[in-house]
């Protein structure tokens, strides 16, 4: 029985993936057509794009390394949205995680053993992200400030906090910019394929995605948090610890984003500025494209990483096609998938409760 259900689920996932691949193919064709209209040679754009994103082990590894922070911020958004916690603050949590990881690996050295420093920095980053998320949840629970609102505002607070730290105690010697010193080579995340960007952070993120899937789909905790998301009233009536679950979810969500920041600085960029890319905001799109399913998020993050890396290589080439093309393609893919497959935050159809996010009683005319 269990195996049959699992198989059905995989079939569903397979259909979704096939659909996604088809849509991506169609959109890529369209994009290349658009490039042709704008006066760029379409075939060369396509070849350069594919070559830049997956043409060699190195290209493939940089696509994966770019997808890694997206996967983690995507998981952050996905876990939270599924439980009805509208955490838009992955960007801030990502920054706080990166900040703590940099601090632990450059300044606040407790010891100098990479075996200890790396895990410490990763855990510290995850905790920092989680705590940053908890502020928003605290404000929601005890001060009635909606999470959507406080997380947006806290993103900016985190940004300026990170800048202040990077221009103050964490600033690199000999620069006026808000920038941390480079992390010593021995504290970088080890590579599992030499001379590429395949660092163990990627494996860590994948494992985390699978664990989160198990947590969501196979445990009481996952079920309860889903009920809390669909209908807090029902959850309360069923004596589920609604507040506690929301705090836990927020902590997990923020922790994922914070871990993403830590992995990004330790594994990929090796120093920090406050403008490390909009991974947090992009994570929302990744999560939604992956239909809030951790396994789906792996694919959508990979897709985003693939697009971004290819776009940057095309921009660097003699063609100089603006890399923002990648963002346009992502937007079009989401819009097309939306209408075709109905990506939705309202999971009503699957659960069979049409009024999940609607007001419970029918409003009188």
């Amino acid at each position: 029985m269990m195996i049959r259900r699992l198989f059905q689920r995989m079939c569903n996932a397979a259909t979704a993936v096939t659909l996604a691949v088809l849509v991506c193919g169609a959109v890529l064709t369209l994009a290349i057509g658009a490039a042709a209209l704008l006066g760029y040679p379409p075939l060369r754009v396509a070849v350069l794009w594919l070559h830049g994103a997956a043409g060699s082990w190195y290209a493939l590894s940089s696509s994966c390394a770019d997808a890694c922070p997206l996967l983690l911020t995507g998981l952050a958004a996905g876990v939270a949205f599924r439980a009805g916690v509208l955490n838009i603050g992955a960007q801030g949590q990502f920054l706080m995680g990166a900040l703590v990881a940099v601090a632990l690996s450059t300044r606040m050295m407790i010891c100098h053993q990479p075996v200890l420093v790396i895990p410490l920095a990763l855990i510290g980053g995850a905790l920092a992200g989680g705590m940053w998320g908890l502020i928003a949840q605290y404000l929601e629970r005890y001060r009635s400030v909606p999470v959507v609102l406080s997380t947006i505002l806290l993103n900016f607070v985190a940004l300026y906090l990170a800048e202040a730290a990077l221009q103050g105690p964490l600033q690199a010697v000999g620069t006026a910019a808000a920038q941390s010193p480079e992390i010593a080579g021995k504290y970088w995340l080890p590579l599992f394929v030499a001379y590429t960007d395949f660092h163990i952070g990627i494996i860590l993120a994948l494992v985390l995605a699978v664990l989160l899937w198990v947590l969501q789909e196979r445990t009481v905790f996952g079920f309860e948090s889903q009920v809390v998301g669909l209908n807090p009233g029902t959850a309360k009536a069923m004596r589920m610890p609604v507040t506690w679950r929301q705090f836990q979810i927020m902590f997990i969500s923020g922790g994922c984003a914070g871990l993403g920041g830590a992995i990004q600085v330790l594994g990929q960029v090796h120093f920090m500025t406050a403008h490390m890319g909009n991974y947090g905001y992009a994570g929302i799109a990744v999560a939604l494209l992956g239909r809030l399913n951790p396994l789906g998020i792996i694919f959508s993050a990979g897709f985003f990483g693939f697009l971004d890396t290819g776009a940057f290589r095309v921009e660097e080439s003699s063609l100089a096609l603006p890399h923002d093309m990648a963002n346009v393609i992502k937007a079009v893919v989401i819009l097309v998938m939306l209408v075709l497959a109905g990506i939705s935050l309202r999971r009503s159809r699957r659960v069979g409760n049409p009024g999940s996010s609607a007001p419970t009683e029918t409003p009188s005319a």
Binding site: L139, Y160, Q167, A326, V328, L338, L345, P363, A365
Partner: protein, 328 residues
């Protein structure tokens, strides 16, 4: 004129200047949300407004044409969004995220291509001299002590925004049209029963919101700065979203929130420079505080204000619920 009057005059003027684009975009977003559609992608529409205004002004040399182009571009973005959410029944949060990405991507692309194109032609990418807007001083009224400059030494679009606020407030609260707009978000069934076309109504509200967001973008690029930079809105669209909730879906609340935000922002900017020049020891002691803490102030103040006021408003009931609620 004494110093305190000077300071108040200066701060209030800065606050209104900074708040105008947020109020403008906010009024549009508010109308959209009242009709039952939340648009998270307002940042994207603003960015498209920025780039449209800048490039069109650069090419034609007329700021007004640029402003109109920005409004039109915002409406085009709204058409896409309305097609997906109102007619295609897509989830509004998801579609909004896509619109944000679309705005960021398209505006960045257009900007790079515009630069290449102008440079190949041998033109500068800067705005032609005198084509951007400068503040319009209204004679006599601007001499009113304290608040005169704040209200009467502003850009043309700011005066339009003030008029728009009054008109929108009157319409929303005292006319049949306003009742319909609010009913679209609170009781679409009732609208339907009364013969109002719900989806058409929502689409029109979104078009209005798009035009507002586009114009707000134009304000940033061809009025306030006379420049374009990719991602120049810097999250202002998200702040607007927050301020609509902050104002509890009421126009005066929204305007108050924007002005409060603008005031704290101009206050922190003034403090940043004043602490170095001031003779006052208390102010001078602030020189050791990193300037980022000043930049943080408006956001912290907004969170603090919310935490203190602490009253939740549910907002329009049918936000993010497509019409008709069952697919036929």
């Amino acid at each position: 004129m004494n110093t305190s009057q000077n300071i108040i005059t200066f701060l209030s003027r800065q606050a209104v200047t900074a708040a105008t684009p947020m109020i403008l975009a906010g009024v549009g977003e508010l109308v959209g949300e009242l009709s039952g559609v939340i648009n998270i992608g307002i940042e994207g529409a603003m960015l498209m407004g920025c780039i449209a205004a800048y490039t069109v002004t650069g090419v034609t040399g007329h700021g007004t044409v640029g402003l109109l182009a920005a409004g039109a571009t915002g409406m085009v973005m709204a058409v896409i969004f309305a097609a997906a959410t109102v007619w295609g029944r897509a989830d509004q949060i998801v579609a909004g995220t896509a619109m944000d990405l679309l705005g960021v991507g398209l505006s960045g692309m257009i900007w790079m291509m515009y630069q290449n194109w102008r440079e190949n032609l041998g033109f500068s990418t800067a705005l032609p001299h005198g084509s951007g807007f400068s503040p319009v001083v209204i004679p006599l009224l601007h001499e009113i002590p304290y608040l005169g400059p704040a209200l009467f030494e502003q850009y043309m679009l700011c005066y339009l925004t003030m008029c728009l606020c009054v008109v929108a407030w009157w319409t929303l609260n005292h006319t049949r049209l306003g009742l319909i707009i609010r009913a679209l978000g609170d009781a679409p069934e009732a609208c339907h029963a009364a013969g109002v076309r719900v989806r058409l109504g929502r689409s029109l509200c979104l078009l209005f919101a798009g035009a507002c967001a586009g114009a707000a973008g134009a304000y940033l690029s061809i009025m306030q700065t006379h420049a374009f930079a990719s991602d120049m809105t810097g999250g202002e669209g998200f702040v607007v979203l927050a301020l609509v909730i902050f104002g509890r879906w009421k126009l005066p609340g929204l305007v108050g929130g924007c002005l409060f935000f603008g005031l704290i922002n101009s206050l922190q900017q003034t403090l940043q420079t004043a602490r170095y020049t001031s003779q006052n020891t208390a102010l001078h002691a602030l020189t050791h505080v990193p300037f980022q803490f000043f930049q943080m102030l408006p956001y912290v103040a907004a969170i603090a204000a919310l935490a203190i006021m602490s009253r939740k408003s549910p907002g329009p009931r049918y936000i993010n619920i497509p019409w008709p609620s069952t697919k036929t």
